[in-house]
Symmetry: D3
Amino acid sequence: MSEHAVSRFGHVELDDMPDDLRERIGAIAEKSGFVPNVFRALARRPAELRAFLDYHDALVEKAPDDRGGLSKAERELVVVATSGANHCTYCVVAHGAILRVRMKDPEIADKVASNPWGAQLSPRERAIVDLALLIATDSAQLTDAELDDARMAGLSEDEIWDVGAITALFAMSNRLAHLTALRPNPEFFLMGRLPR
Amino acid sequence: MSEHAVSRFGHVELDDMPDDLRERIGAIAEKSGFVPNVFRALARRPAELRAFLDYHDALVEKAPDDRGGLSKAERELVVVATSGANHCTYCVVAHGAILRVRMKDPEIADKVASNPWGAQLSPRERAIVDLALLIATDSAQLTDAELDDARMAGLSEDEIWDVGAITALFAMSNRLAHLTALRPNPEFFLMGRLPR
Amino acid sequence: MSEHAVSRFGHVELDDMPDDLRERIGAIAEKSGFVPNVFRALARRPAELRAFLDYHDALVEKAPDDRGGLSKAERELVVVATSGANHCTYCVVAHGAILRVRMKDPEIADKVASNPWGAQLSPRERAIVDLALLIATDSAQLTDAELDDARMAGLSEDEIWDVGAITALFAMSNRLAHLTALRPNPEFFLMGRLPR
Amino acid sequence: MSEHAVSRFGHVELDDMPDDLRERIGAIAEKSGFVPNVFRALARRPAELRAFLDYHDALVEKAPDDRGGLSKAERELVVVATSGANHCTYCVVAHGAILRVRMKDPEIADKVASNPWGAQLSPRERAIVDLALLIATDSAQLTDAELDDARMAGLSEDEIWDVGAITALFAMSNRLAHLTALRPNPEFFLMGRLPR
Amino acid sequence: MSEHAVSRFGHVELDDMPDDLRERIGAIAEKSGFVPNVFRALARRPAELRAFLDYHDALVEKAPDDRGGLSKAERELVVVATSGANHCTYCVVAHGAILRVRMKDPEIADKVASNPWGAQLSPRERAIVDLALLIATDSAQLTDAELDDARMAGLSEDEIWDVGAITALFAMSNRLAHLTALRPNPEFFLMGRLPR
Amino acid sequence: MSEHAVSRFGHVELDDMPDDLRERIGAIAEKSGFVPNVFRALARRPAELRAFLDYHDALVEKAPDDRGGLSKAERELVVVATSGANHCTYCVVAHGAILRVRMKDPEIADKVASNPWGAQLSPRERAIVDLALLIATDSAQLTDAELDDARMAGLSEDEIWDVGAITALFAMSNRLAHLTALRPNPEFFLMGRLPR
């Protein structure tokens, strides 16, 4: 397999995107300092990219609200654990970077991505990751018993939904990254690894 | 596990949905004769449901266009094959109904859902389903070799993207259905089974 | 793979079977209204078909007796659950039809076949199906602990034997159906789906 | 788990069996010098044991006939390979003994049972074992391509049926042995290991 | 695959080994009556063979000492159980022979190798084998919970280390045997099977 | 699980090791700037640690010689790919650091560890990694056919042995790291990521 600049299916540069996407992704790029490759690759299909962004914002960017809900760091923990289990390089590298930043821990992403089953976590984090891993790898076997385990560890109904829905969203994202042989931007590899 | 009317997390009736969703899902309900349970269950989170609908419309409802692309029946074939491999009852029953209608074949859905690897299909359909199954069950192993197999069977780049992206979308949908213990509407079971 | 009328290895029509088989299968056909394809395919080897019929009658057709035992509907539940786990189209379709009839439930077969692990069942049915699934998919791991679980759910020794032996019989039947690419008779697909 | 004399469900001695079974199994015992435990365990259910014996005789004891067919040694090779893959101690030990005798090779059974995928075999034997292993472990994935491989290695249609049907029969037998925690008779362990 | 005398990569006879290895393996051969093939095959790389022998002596030949530790028979039990799970013919046959001798039980090795999950063992032996099997087949999932199970069954910290380290050593040995298609010496097959 | 400083079984500081180990590991520490935790954890058992070091030196530290052989970077590639497949955090982090240094590529380790099957590599590297992955995850299925694939890609017999033996050694190391819940030294995480 030859190395692709961005993806197996080519990519669209920011300037060539439809106005709404150029504006929306431009804002992300301004904040990150670069355009994450996932957007350049998915822009081949603008309607799909819009839905992807909407889904992502609704689930991963959402801060906890009055009804509680996972913290932003916990949301990234779900992403890195399940992307590790699914062997998705792009998501492990890109969201691993975000997890390091959000947890202010330069080691957590490598530990969770390489062995999400065994990584040493707090009991609440372990309950979150265990539920996510079951849904990522064998969701047909999810029964009330596993949800009760999560409730016993203190997760609310909305938090359980968050864990399940984020896992489901990245079941999709991981497969899109594998479909496109998506290459992580070089910037992600070092993010959050150096003391600030 | 007790039997739920719609989902493990309750549901929202059409009349209680936000205006845009009530209108959009109302239109679907009018066409089908009933409100598919997936919408009643996901309406607990309107922003997520909107993204879900957008993604679904962009990938599954899209007709082939100038650049070719999968037929609507082929799109449902991908859904039923991968939902069968993922053991997702809701998607097998609901999209199995649509597949029967679109293929005008009362047997195809049961055959594809119960054994997507062995179901007797045309060479083009078999290439579509084989690619979908690999991405559904072990996408980390997807390499250029498998894409070349699909190209040899006549699939265009856009058709390969369609197969992969629909498979990815239902990797998500199947997990959402398992998360919510989503119950298929009774109407789906018989749709497309009787001569019209 | 081209579509076969009945099986990959051809078939024998009722009139061409040895007298005893013609009589025995004729009686079944009279009751069903058609000759189930499994008998036409296995008739290629009369001695094997006779043993198959005898085994089937001893295990699946047997009504509960003085010592208790599984009900006829429960026996079909074991067949559909394990055939679903084994991805056997013929057995899912044919015994799914019988299960619908015996349970007077038009939805049960599709639910159990597509996801036998997660289908919502009574505690007794769940214990039956869980034991059957373990024996179907990983019987080397069966220990006294799992049998004790079944006993705790109220299954007698004879009922445990029934579950295990029916599962074992369909481990064989499922493989014979896959060997012969056995095609379900069209009549099975609709049986038990319409109110009578 | 405590050690059982014969089986987890007890057993029936030869003298306590119905006349036809006592006669039939008595004849086997006379030839072997002992009553194989499988018959003592299955005699709890005479009708099932009769069908089991009939099936076994039709498939495993059958000599090649005018239409060709597997040799008796090849039939045992299928049994030992698939029982090894299924981790069935009784069948590995008992049929391993018969395989040693039939192949006049004191090492073959241990090699095939411990690693049926890698055991060094003739090309015809390898084709037989490869087909058997696929049907034993993942029969839903059997397609015309694998049957063509078997044909290319010289197997006739009847020989392919033999391989598949014997594999299917021992998919059942292995599960019955696991259900009953069936203990091999001590005599089997040494049979065929010493030069005669 | 053609049959090799010793290994796929040839072998080195005792007389052609470096002095230290000739002496060390000569001593083993004197005791056994033959040169175990593993040494003839690995002697292709003397430095690796020396490390292999050292590791083996440190873990498998070590007798229990003041701090307790596994008995020599228990060490072989770990080897045979995990080599069975790994389908390693050489280790099953060679260490099966040693296990029979050390346990003075002509049946134990065949039972443990063919089905290490279900073999009937004492509670202490079962705890040892269960821990070994988890480490052999899925060590990333080992958590404190499984170690606590082993402690509850009475294993000391040093005994747990022994189980884990012997399992790890044979994870290596099994793969070396598969790499080299290592053939068991004929003498192993009968060792420990006959009353002395 | 609480976080351990080094390992679940405690550790031995350099000063408390036997003289030969203190000297040998001291030399490594001097070069690295720290004592890799694997040595502090394994020093609990000096004889085992000596054999571990010898094996490691013989296989991983060896430079290519007159007979060819893998480069040092290729040896680390085998380690990172198989440790990634085995989900071993310590080996992924520690040997990932060495791989980055040896390949002078700050991205290679994360790519290979997260998805060794799909990482974009040269044809020679891909052949090395494919062989290593098969031996790591399912070595019983290794046949002459896979070795021929490696030979076709240009690997010599000695290089094939290197790939297999290094994979085997890390099948052991990965399991020792999981047994001890071995924690990577903080220094490894950043090594080789910054331009020098």
